[in-house]
């Protein structure tokens, strides 16, 4: 009798272990940001309900330590199967094998091309998708409605001339020091994108050649764009960098200290502005020149598959299913509601209700003409532009030679990557 019981127990354990073997656990990594983690937790719960045999483990790390964690864990065969990365990191990540192309048996390139917003093309490397975004972002002008109204302006600036006029009116200087500035200038914030991707195009040049191998902003139009930007500090004195100290002082100055009247920031800043700002604020599309040419910088975080996901077919299938799930229209809607980031599918951004929203509207309308810069090395290329600006406004260097130095340094990075 005891023997029989033992056999039953053994058999039961065997069956249970078989059942467990069918259940696949995959790991998802993103950086730690309250609303994003919350949105992803909700998506995971929905996904697990739909796929009871798949468990998804979400792990997050502080933004500053995120790339470090990825760099160290994946080579050890640990960590994420599905991993979130900034699209600008794709070239350096794929070069070192941290992300793999999306397998064709699960993802159809032509279909993705048609359904996602055009800037999602930046999730491709050499014609292959390496990941997909749940949400995209664009830039816009945040302005303090109360301050503009006090100075007699009922509407945000539509042209750069108006922008400078308003910013000058809202800049207050006491002796040698500013007590309020019209524009929160931040070369190392979003302004390097503004110069590289927005102003150059408005002045009449694209920043890089179509194949991404050549720097084009060294031409006359690019030079004018750069001169125009630096003149905000050197000639018009509508702001100075690091006016409010801290990691992103220009944001704090706009939202909290209320001593910065306007800033240019991404749609990802909507939530924090909503939480912190104790005044009336508005959002407007980035101003244009008299020629009316519109341009914007689009960007996104994409979800890619790490080499870990490819280790066994069951895991790969689960990872692909999960990736597909979190980039569905319903997931994007949830992401918009919880995080406040714009959906990455063409059908969703054409929603008239969203486009007429006073806050989301300007960002949504900008998506139609936004470009995601094709970086080869985002952090190094950011430094190139930031340094070009700093040479002029901090060291008083010649504008033209500083810009040409940037062209040279950027081209050297492109060449180095192509090797």
């Amino acid at each position: 009798m005891r023997q029989v019981t033992k056999l039953f127990i053994l058999g039961g354990l065997l069956l249970a272990s078989l059942g467990l073997a069918q259940e696949v656990t995959i790991t998802y990594w993103q950086y730690d940001f309250g609303a994003r983690v919350e949105a992803m937790s909700q998506l995971i719960a929905q996904f697990e309900a739909e796929n009871p045999d798949i468990k998804v483990l979400q792990e997050t790390f502080p933004y500053d330590a995120y790339q470090q964690q990825v760099a160290a864990s994946l080579p050890a065969g640990e960590g994420a199967d599905v991993v979130q990365l900034f699209y600008g990191w794709l070239p350096t990540w794929q070069r070192s094998g941290y992300v793999e192309p999306l397998p064709e048996q699960y993802f159809d390139t032509a279909q993705l091309d048609a359904e996602f917003v055009p800037m999602a093309q930046a999730a491709k490397w050499q014609g292959k998708y390496y990941g997909l975004p749940t949400a995209v972002r664009s830039l816009a002008l945040f302005y303090n409605k109360d301050k503009l109204a006090e100075a007699g302006y009922d509407n945000p600036p539509a042209t750069w001339d108006e922008f400078i006029e308003i910013a000058q009116a809202l800049t207050v200087k006491r002796g040698p020091r500013f007590t309020q500035i019209g524009y929160g200038i931040a070369p190392n914030g979003q302004d390097h994108h503004l110069i590289r991707e927005v102003l150059t195009r408005q002045f009449g040049t694209q920043p890089y050649s179509d194949d991404g191998t050549e720097v084009l902003y060294g031409n006359d139009a690019g030079m004018q764009a750069f001169k125009f930007y630096t003149s905000w500090v050197t000639d018009y004195e509508i702001g100075i960098p690091e006016f409010v100290p801290g990691n992103s002082g220009y944001r704090d100055g706009f939202r909290i200290q209320e001593n910065i009247a306007m800033i240019i920031d991404g749609s990802f800043a909507i939530g924090a502005t909503r939480d912190a700002a104790q005044f009336n604020w508005g959002v407007a599309e980035i101003p244009t020149l008299e020629n009316g040419v519109k341009a914007n910088f689009g960007s996104f975080w994409m979800n890619g598959l790490s080499p870990n996901a490819f280790k066994d077919p069951a895991k790969l299938e689960a990872s692909a299913k999960f990736l597909e799930f979190i980039t569905r229209p319903a997931a994007m809607q949830l992401w918009l509601d919880v995080v406040g980031e714009l959906p990455a599918r063409q059908a969703l951004i054409e929603d008239p209700e969203l486009a007429s929203d006073p806050i989301f509207g300007p960002f949504i309308r900008s998506l139609a003409y936004a470009t995601a810069t094709t970086f080869v090395d985002e952090s190094a290329q950011r430094s190139v532009i930031v340094d070009a600006v700093n040479r002029v406004i901090l060291e008083g260097a010649d504008v033209e030679s500083s810009w040409m130095q940037a062209v040279e340094e950027d081209q050297a990075l492109l060449n180095q990557f192509a090797q």
Partner: protein, 324 residues
């Protein structure tokens, strides 16, 4: 027979181990020492060799796909202006921080030694910055250095108004950009580091001063030494081992400077215009912002040899045996 039976086990035991008590004790000591030594070898020395090995290859997640470069990265280092800048900055930081910490640390320790009451209170106050997170320190100093709102520039402006009103315009000092100036930022960061680590130096020197026997001072006083003589010929020579320790520790910390530099300028790390960039930060950027881990490994090898050389030179230069 009875006696022999009693002695048997003893002699046989001795024969078994063949070791004296002293040897056995020291063997035990070695066994216990071996554990931390093992940690040191596995977690410090082995990775150092590994990073040299890594520096010979391009980086890839899959070891099979790493391409052998030989000394390619070392060649690249020779013509890397940013690395040269980082190296120069690092040496500058060290040249500013080490002497300043030594002088201030010793000075404050001597003053604390001289006072009777509240000694431990002062010691705690001086030590507090050392245990404050670098991010908080950088944030507070960032505000103090601020061009438009900072307390330092507030003072400079008040100072200037004061002297201008009294007809002494040559004493006027304009507000300074500090951290946002490529020429001032390095010194401004060095001041933060000195301030933050000073407490550690003070504690080290206080311990050193307390270790000097009163007998030497009494003997010197009987011989007619004044207080300068006491300091110059008794305190300083007998503090030499503590000073060597302090110099080497603060030199190594300066050569590895990272935390404060990253935190004072988070969005343009090492900026403005690389003026505050250090080797450790450059290595970090190459590895984790650009994913060039092979090159970063080569930079760590450079840093390793730099620290090794500087330390050996210092040991040779500063270590003297002092006997009275």
């Amino acid at each position: 027979m009875q006696a022999r039976a009693d002695q048997e086990p003893l002699t046989s035991k001795k024969r078994r181990t063949g070791l004296t008590l002293a040897t056995r004790e020291s063997l035990w000591a070695y066994t216990f020492l071996f554990v931390p030594l093992l940690f040191f070898l596995v977690l410090r020395i082995w990775p150092a060799f590994q990073s040299f090995y890594l520096s010979l290859f391009t980086w890839h997640v899959d070891p099979a796909k790493r391409e052998f470069l030989g000394l390619g990265y070392y060649q690249e280092m020779l013509s890397d202006p940013k690395l040269r800048r980082a190296l120069l900055n690092t040496l500058l930081y060290t040249a500013i921080i080490v002497p300043a910490q030594l002088a201030l640390g010793l000075g404050i320790a001597l003053l604390l030694q001289a006072i009777g009451a509240f000694k431990s209170l002062f010691r705690a106050i001086y030590f507090a910055p050392y245990v404050t997170p670098a991010a908080a320190v950088a944030w507070v100093w960032g505000w103090m250095y601020s061009v438009n709102f900072g307390v330092i520039n507030n003072f400079l402006i008040e100072w200037s108004i004061f002297w201008e009103e009294r007809g002494l315009p040559w004493l006027v000092i304009d507000p300074q950009p500090f951290l946002s100036s490529p020429s001032q930022a390095l010194v401004a960061v060095a001041v933060i580091v000195i301030w933050q680590n000073l407490g550690f130096q003070v504690v080290i020197f206080l311990a050193g001063l307390q270790g000097i026997s009163r007998i030497f001072y009494d003997a010197a006083k009987i011989d007619g030494a004044n207080s300068w003589n006491l300091f110059r010929y008794v305190t300083l020579p007998l503090l030499n081992p503590v000073m060597v320790f302090s110099i080497i520790i603060s030199t190594i910390a300066s050569l590895q400077l990272f935390d404060q530099v990253v935190n004072v300028n988070f969005t343009d790390q090492g900026g403005p215009l690389n003026s505050t960039l250090t080797i450790a930060l450059y290595m970090y950027q190459e590895a984790f912002a650009r994913f060039r881990l092979g090159y970063a490994a080569a930079v760590t090898v450079l840093l390793f040899f730099l620290i090794l050389m500087v330390t050996l030179i210092q040991l040779r230069f500063f270590s003297r045996r002092v006997e009275y």
